[in-house]
Amino acid sequence: MVNVTLKVNGETRSATVPPETTLLRLLRDQFNLTGAKLGCDVGDCGACTVIVDGKPVNSCLMLAGQADGREVLTIEGLANADHLHPLQKLFEHFGSLQCGFCGPGVIMSAKALLDENPNPSAQEIRDALGGNLCRCTGYAKMIEAIKGASCILRGEEIPAVKSAFVTE
């Protein structure tokens, strides 16, 4: 067994787990943080994306032992008691998620992007989401929401929503 102690969403947590335990399993089974999802278990789908030491990673491809002593941010640590993170607010506002299973991973990827690049282009957003598969949405409303959130974080106006109705 290995002993791991890491900071999860600002809180120091410890566990003793078998060496083959992945960070994803540690978070879900030991710490009951089930926001990160198991979609493929080999790093293709990105549903397990969490932020480790400031960088988004596939928690299914990281052993708990590797995460020992590191800082992990999961979707559960994004909002606070006063308000939702702008990404969470706008993903709701734009209907960016449908079945929602890919959502926590997508939002964490977007969070990491905006931390580094406060004003990303559509292409930069697409690149940041390249590791998060979604089968429901075609990604369009996610990209809209991420653009919007970047505006809020920069203290600017959110661009108006494209409506499907064109007045003839």
């Binding site: 943080l33 559960e76 994004l78 606070n80 969470q88 993903f91 209907g95 929602g100 926590p104 429901c136």
Partner: protein
């Protein structure tokens, strides 16, 4: 982080009480105490509003509870042994070694299932294959253990002896009557549909030109981001509660009742929130297996498919082979159309009958055609079973009829838009099945799309050069 390496001995279940006990209580998950309701949800009248989804906030907070996010005290984890061979007779299944493993609580095979067959129309699919394997994804045994890891190791210890049989893989081969039946002794054609209108041969004879084309489509997977998951909990009253990623709980309950041989009133199915369906979660998979494992162990049992099981042990989209023949007048009016569709049904019927019907009915396209002959067959092969998938045959036939339409338009020197407008349904048009259609807006959609896109007439098949 200590500098010296940790020396640790190999883990052993018996010394691993931690995986037998439920996880630590959840830490406080923060979310806004003040719930601000988005404007759209508060508007009246409600219809037409861009109202946000009721589940959107929980999705965004990662608080939506999918089945794999649920845990019950003493819960066991199940894995299913897959055949890995497309067609075979099962000679023997030896589960002794698996049963003897520490941490393994129960093992079952097809023989343990009271009524080992199900299906939305034909009941041709075993819950677990016991005599015959019809495709490589068939389950042959299931293990419930104290951890997923142990269950996974246990199914490797299950020894199955097969007598391999030659698989039928090509739908056109399968169509031939001399081809050995996948589900012998009957032939492989298990569904047929015919739509006749007017006299198609006469129409061809009177046509200015007649066009023929053959089109094929591939087998496609739904890829819901959430793999199939199920938890079954049998209680002391002989009632079983099944949490399952099912889009159709009513049918699901009927199938579970049938396979377990117990009254529906003893079964409760809860679908919670499903992480994507697209047609792949419209019938039961391992629900009866989990129910029986729970009954046998007296403990809740959870099963989550691996991504590869989601591919090999779930339904897929029917591959089609589509022959089209169309006669047109000099002006471009469609006078007659003859269609033959062959659907590759895979190993089991599943939703093939619905797919067959919709594919055949829709195969002529949204066009007024007085003389039509459309015939469709669905055949068994030893491939992954095909079933419901977004479109039920429509994406396949649309690919064929719309490619065919463009070929004809180009050959006649007509703008594909004009050619379609000339033949498209309008309010009150009669469908291939003789139904009078209402609220028809094919032409409107064509014109609106063309306007929005900036469509400008017939292309020359040479495109316009753009910088590489």
């Amino acid at each position: 982080m200590p500098d010296k390496p940790r020396v640790i001995e190999k883990p052993d279940v018996l010394e691993k009480p931690d995986i037998l006990k439920p996880p630590a209580p959840a830490p406080l998950v923060t979310f806004p105490v003040e719930v601000v309701v988005p404007e759209g949800r508060q508007q009246t009248p409600a219809v037409g509003q861009r109202a946000t989804r009721a589940d959107a906030r929980l999705h965004g907070l990662g608080q939506t509870k999918y089945i794999d996010d649920m845990y019950f005290p003493n819960m066991l984890f199940a894995k299913i042994k897959r055949a890995g061979i497309a067609s075979a007779r099962i000679k023997s299944i030896d589960t002794k070694e698996a049963e003897a493993m520490p941490g393994v609580i129960a093992v079952i095979t097809g023989r343990d299932i009271p009524c080992n067959s199900f299906g939305p129309s034909l009941k041709d699919q075993p819950v677990l294959a016991s005599e015959r394997v019809f495709h490589a994804g068939d389950g042959v045994a299931a293990v419930a253990a104290v951890s997923e890891q142990i269950a996974a190791e246990a199914i490797e210890k299950i020894k199955v002896e097969y007598e391999p049989l030659t698989p039928v893989l090509d739908p056109l081969e399968s169509l031939k009557l001399e081809t050995p039946g996948v589900h012998a002794p009957s032939a492989n054609i298990y569904g047929h549909k015919l739509i006749k209108k007017g006299d198609v041969e006469k129409a061809f004879a009177e046509s200015y030109r007649v066009f023929e084309g053959t089109f094929r489509t591939q087998m496609v997977e739904h890829v819901p981001l959430e793999p199939y998951a199920c938890i079954a909990q049998w209680d002391a009253n002989g009632r079983v509660t099944v949490y399952s990623t099912l889009g159709r709980i009513t049918l699901g309950r009927a199938d579970v009742a049938r396979t377990l041989g117990i009254p529906m009133s003893r079964i409760r199915i809860i679908a919670t929130v499903v992480g994507g369906n697209f047609g792949g979660k419209n019938e039961i998979r391992a629900e009866p297996v989990m129910a029986l494992l729970s009954k046998k162990t007296g403990r809740p049992v959870k099963c989550v498919y691996t991504r590869s099981e989601e591919f090999t042990a779930s339904t897929t989209r029917h591959p089609l082979v589509m022959d089209y023949k169309t006669g047109v007048s000099k002006q471009g009016k469609i006078l007659g159309r003859k269609i033959r569709l062959v659907l590759d049904g895979g190993a089991y019927c599943s939703w093939s009958e619905t797919t067959l019907g919709k594919a055949c009915i829709l195969s002529a396209g949204p066009y007024n055609i007085d003389n039509l002959y459309a015939e469709a067959f669905v055949v068994y092969t030893n491939k992954t079973m095909t079933g419901a998938m977004r479109g039920f045959g429509a994406p396949q036939v649309c690919f064929a009829y719309e490619s065919h339409m463009d070929d004809i338009a180009h050959a006649l020197g007509l703008d594909p838009l004009e050619f379609r407008l000339m033949n498209a349904f309008e309010e009150g048009s009669i469908s291939p099945t003789g139904q009078k259609l209402h609220s028809v807006v094919v032409k409107e959609s064509l014109l609106r799309a063309a306007k929005r896109f900036g469509w400008n007439g017939l292309g020359d098949g040479n495109g316009t050069g753009v910088k590489a």
